[in-house]
C-alpha cells in the first residue's frame, strides 16, 4: 500500500438501474497515484464483482459485459490504460438500446 499522500480519490456515479447494485449515492473510490481505468475495474471486482448479475459483470475477466460504460464529460472512457486523476467524476451507466 502506497503512503496516503500518494493516493487519489475518484467519484463513481452509478446511473439508473445500476444504482440497485452500486448504491444510490455516488461512491468515493481510493486508488493509487497514477492509477488507470484498469485499476478502477480491479476495485470494482473486489468490492462489487461477486454481487453483480452475470449479464453485467464477467467474473472471469474482471470486466463489465454489454453496454456498461465509464463516462467522463459525456464521453465513453474505453481505454483501460487511460490515466485517472484525483477528484475525477466518472459516471457508470448501462446504455439503453431496446426500441
Amino acid at each position: 500500500m502506497l503512503p496516503r499522500g500518494n493516493r487519489i480519490k475518484v467519484i463513481l456515479k452509478p446511473i439508473g438501474d445500476l444504482r440497485d447494485y452500486f448504491g444510490r449515492e455516488p461512491q468515493e473510490i481510493e486508488l493509487p497515484h497514477q492509477a488507470v481505468v484498469r485499476d478502477l475495474l480491479e476495485v470494482i471486482a473486489e468490492r462489487w464483482g461477486n454481487a453483480l448479475p452475470t449479464y453485467l459483470w464477467d467474473v472471469h475477466n474482471r470486466a463489465f459485459r454489454g453496454a456498461v460504460y465509464f463516462v467522463v464529460n459525456g464521453k465513453v472512457l474505453k481505454d483501460l490504460d487511460a490515466p485517472l486523476h484525483d477528484g475525477l467524476e466518472i459516471t457508470l451507466l448501462k446504455a439503453l438500446s431496446g426500441g
Partner: protein, 624 residues
C-alpha cells in the same frame, strides 16, 4: 429544389390509383412552416382531406409517403420515410417509419411527399424516376415474398439502385397486421400493408438524380459534421452501435421491462442466456438502414443449421425477438430468429404477430381455443415448433390464421368467453415489448399515444424515467431524470406532455429517433433546420410544432370517437406481476393512474372528459 421553400424539394405527387394518373403539386409553404413535414405535414393533410368514419380499407383512405426536411443521408438519422393513413387495425391515426434510402432518394427525385388516393382495379406498381412517374402492372409480383418481389422489381427496372417499398403476401391478403417492407427493414405497425393491399398497390420504387440545396450550404454541412463528431462519443450511440437494440434484452429482463407470458409478468430471468446464444450463434455484423447511418444498430443475423436454419438477413430487433421469446415463453433463440425472418419475408409486423401468438396460446391454455379450432396445432406455451406454421397461417389467412389476422382486439371479441382479458393492446394496436411496471412515465405515454400502444412514441417515457435520458429538454422544463424515481407517480403526467412534444420531432423531421437517444437534442435539430431552410427557428419553436402535431393527431382521433375513457391501459399492466423478480414488488404498479392522467390533461390543455384540446388550446396552436 424549391425556390420558395428552401431546403425542401418543394413538390408532392398526388396519385390517383383509379385512373393511374399522377399530378405534381407544390408543397404548401404555410403548412410546412407550421408542421414542418413527416408525420406533421401528413397529419394536416389527412385531417383536412379524410372524412371521419371512412372505411380504412376502402378507396377513400389515403396513404401518404412523407419525408421530413431532414430526410437526407448526410443528416444523423436522415434515412427515413414515414407512411401515414387511417389504420384498419385501430380505426384511428396510423403511421409507420422505416429506415431506408427511400426517403432521401424520393427527395433526390424531386418530391417531399407522395399522396396516394383511390384504389386500382388491378395490382399496380408505382415507379418514380425523377420527372418520370409510371404505373406498371404488378400481377406477376403477387404471391412473391418480400425479397423475391424486391429482386424481381429491380431486375424488371434494370437498375439495382432503385429503392423499393413493397408488401408481402400478408398485405395482399389484407391481414390487419401486415407491414410494408423496405428490403429487410419494416414499416411494420397499424396494418399499413393491408391498406396497400386494399388499394391493389403492390410496390413503389424510386430513383432520383437531383440534389437538395440548403439555404446556408456551408453552415449546414459544417454543423452536420460537428454533430456527427459529437455524438459518436456518446455512450448511448456506442451502446446501440455495439449491441443493437437486442442488446437490451438482459437488462430489461432484470429491470422489469420485459413483458413475459402475454404480460403475466414483466420479467422472466432467461434474457441473459438467450442474448448470449444470439451473440455467439446468430449475430454476424451491424449495419445501417441507409447509406449514411453511422450508428448502424441494425443486425445481420442467421441460423446456421438445425430445424430453424435461416439465411443471412437483416433483422432480430429487440422488439421482434422479445415478442417471439418472452411473450410466448419460447427458450429457443434460433426459432425466434427464424420466425421474425418469416414475418419480414411474408410482410407481417413482428410485434403484432408475436403478440397475437401469445394471445392465442393463452386462449388455448384456458380452453377458449382447442386443438381442433387450431387445425391440430399444439399451442402450448413455449412450443417453438409451431412458429413457422402459425406465422404462415396468419399471413395466408389459413384456418385459425384467418381469425388471428384481424389482430387481438377483434379476435378476442369473436372468441368471447373473457378472451378480451388476454388481448393486450392500446387502441387496438398490440403492445410492444416494454412494460410500464418498470417505470410509471411509460404508462402515461402508452395510454395517450396517438397511434396506440407502440414501440416508438411512448418510449420516451421509459427512456427518461428508467433510462435517465433528457435530450436537452431540461432547459425547457423537463425534470432532471436523475432526481426522479422510476416508481414515482405525481409529476409524471406533466413531464410526459413535454417528452411527447420533443420526441415526436424525429418523425416530423424525417429522421431516426435513435439518434436522439445517441445525443442529438432538440437544439441540434433546430440549428439544422435553420441552416437548411434559412428560417429563424429555435428549439422552443420546434417544441411548439411538436405540440401542434400531437394535437392535430389527437383531433383526428377525436373525430373517430376517441375520448379520455380510451386513454386506458389493459388491466394486466396495472396488476402486480404473477411471477418473476417483481411479483412481490407492489410499487411497480400504478396506484394513482387517474390522478396522473388528470395532471396530463391539464398540462396539455385538454378537456378532462372529452380528452380533446380545448378551444383555447386549439386557438393557441393555430388549429381552429
Amino acid at each position: 429544389m424549391s425556390e420558395t421553400l428552401k431546403g425542401y424539394a418543394g413538390k408532392q405527387i398526388r396519385v390517383n390509383l383509379e385512373r393511374w394518373e399522377a399530378r405534381v403539386e407544390d408543397v404548401s409553404p404555410e403548412i410546412s412552416r407550421k408542421f414542418l413535414g413527416g408525420v406533421g405535414y401528413a397529419a394536416k393533410i389527412l385531417y383536412d382531406e379524410l372524412s371521419p368514419g371512412i372505411d380504412p380499407l376502402g378507396p377513400q383512405n389515403k396513404m401518404i409517403l412523407a419525408t421530413g426536411p431532414l430526410s437526407l443521408s448526410q443528416v444523423p438519422g436522415g434515412g427515413s420515410i414515414e407512411l401515414c393513413f387511417k389504420s384498419p387495425l385501430t380505426g384511428v391515426w396510423g403511421e409507420c417509419r422505416v429506415g431506408n434510402d427511400f426517403g432521401p432518394e424520393l427527395k433526390k427525385a424531386g418530391y417531399d411527399y407522395v399522396i396516394i388516393e383511390g384504389k386500382s382495379t388491378e395490382p399496380v406498381m408505382l415507379v418514380i424516376r425523377d420527372q418520370q412517374i409510371e404505373f406498371r402492372k404488378a400481377d406477376h409480383l403477387l404471391g412473391k415474398t418480400v425479397s423475391e418481389k424486391s429482386a424481381a422489381i429491380r431486375d424488371e427496372l434494370g437498375d439495382q439502385r432503385f429503392c423499393i417499398l413493397c408488401i408481402g403476401p400478408a398485405g395482399e391478403n389484407l391481414v390487419k397486421v401486415a407491414s410494408v417492407m423496405a428490403d429487410d427493414r419494416a414499416a411494420g405497425r397499424c396494418g399499413v400493408g393491408a391498406v396497400w393491399g386494399s388499394k391493389n398497390l403492390i410496390a413503389v420504387a424510386v430513383r432520383g438524380s437531383g440534389k437538395i440545396v440548403a439555404a446556408k450550404p456551408d453552415e449546414f454541412k459544417k454543423y452536420l459534421k460537428s454533430t456527427h463528431d459529437e455524438i459518436k462519443e456518446n455512450p448511448m450511440f456506442q451502446g446501440l452501435q455495439e449491441f443493437g437494440t437486442i442488446g437490451d434484452i438482459p437488462s430489461n429482463d432484470d429491470g422489469g421491462d420485459w413483458p413475459t407470458k402475454n404480460w403475466q409478468s414483466n420479467s422472466w430471468g432467461k434474457g441473459p442466456e438467450l442474448f448470449d446464444h444470439f451473440q455467439s450463434q446468430n449475430f454476424m455484423r451491424g449495419f445501417g438502414c441507409y447509406k449514411g447511418c453511422t450508428m448502424a444498430c441494425a443486425r445481420e443475423v442467421q441460423v446456421k443449421d438445425g430445424p430453424f436454419k435461416t439465411p443471412k438477413h437483416g433483422g432480430a430487433e429487440y422488439e421482434s425477438i422479445s415478442c417471439f421469446t418472452a411473450y410466448i415463453l419460447n427458450e429457443d433463440m434460433d426459432a425466434a430468429v427464424h420466425a421474425t425472418y418469416l414475418c419480414n419475408e411474408l410482410g407481417l409486423d413482428t410485434i403484432s404477430t408475436g403478440s397475437i401468438i401469445a394471445f392465442a396460446m393463452e386462449c388455448y391454455e384456458k380452453g377458449l381455443l382447442t386443438e381442433k379450432d387450431c387445425q391440430g396445432l399444439d399451442l402450448r406455451w413455449g412450443n417453438s415448433e409451431i412458429l413457422p406454421t402459425i406465422v404462415r397461417m396468419i399471413a395466408y389467412r389459413e384456418g385459425i390464421g384467418d381469425l388471428l389476422a384481424e389482430g387481438v382486439r377483434a379476435a378476442a371479441k369473436k372468441i368471447g368467453g373473457g378472451a378480451d382479458e388476454f388481448a393486450i393492446h392500446g387502441r387496438g394496436l398490440e403492445a410492444p415489448a416494454h412494460d410500464p411496471r418498470s417505470g410509471k412515465a411509460l404508462a402515461i405515454t402508452y395510454a395517450t399515444s396517438n397511434r396506440g400502444m407502440c414501440h416508438i412514441h411512448p418510449l420516451e417515457g421509459m427512456a427518461w424515467d428508467r433510462g435517465k435520458l433528457d435530450w436537452g429538454l431540461q432547459k425547457y422544463g423537463l425534470p432532471d431524470p436523475n432526481t426522479v424515481d422510476r416508481w414515482d407517480e405525481i409529476g409524471k403526467g406533466s413531464a410526459v406532455s413535454l417528452l411527447q412534444d420533443g420526441l415526436v420531432l424525429p418523425d416530423v423531421l424525417g429522421t431516426c429517433k435513435f439518434y436522439m437517444y445517441g445525443g442529438v437534442t432538440v437544439d441540434h435539430w433546430a440549428r439544422m433546420i435553420a441552416d437548411l431552410t434559412g428560417w429563424d427557428i429555435d428549439g422552443a419553436e420546434l417544441l411548439k410544432i411538436g405540440e401542434r402535431v400531437i394535437n392535430i393527431q389527437r383531433l383526428f382521433n377525436g373525430r373517430e370517437g376517441i375520448t379520455a375513457k380510451d386513454d386506458m391501459l389493459p388491466a394486466r399492466m396495472l396488476e402486480v406481476p404473477a411471477f418473476g423478480k417483481y411479483s412481490s414488488e407492489p410499487d411497480c404498479v400504478f396506484h394513482e393512474f387517474n390522478a396522473v392522467m388528470q395532471e396530463y390533461y391539464q398540462t396539455r390543455g385538454w378537456d378532462a372528459v372529452t380528452g380533446m384540446p380545448t378551444l383555447q388550446k386549439r386557438a393557441e396552436l393555430g388549429l381552429d
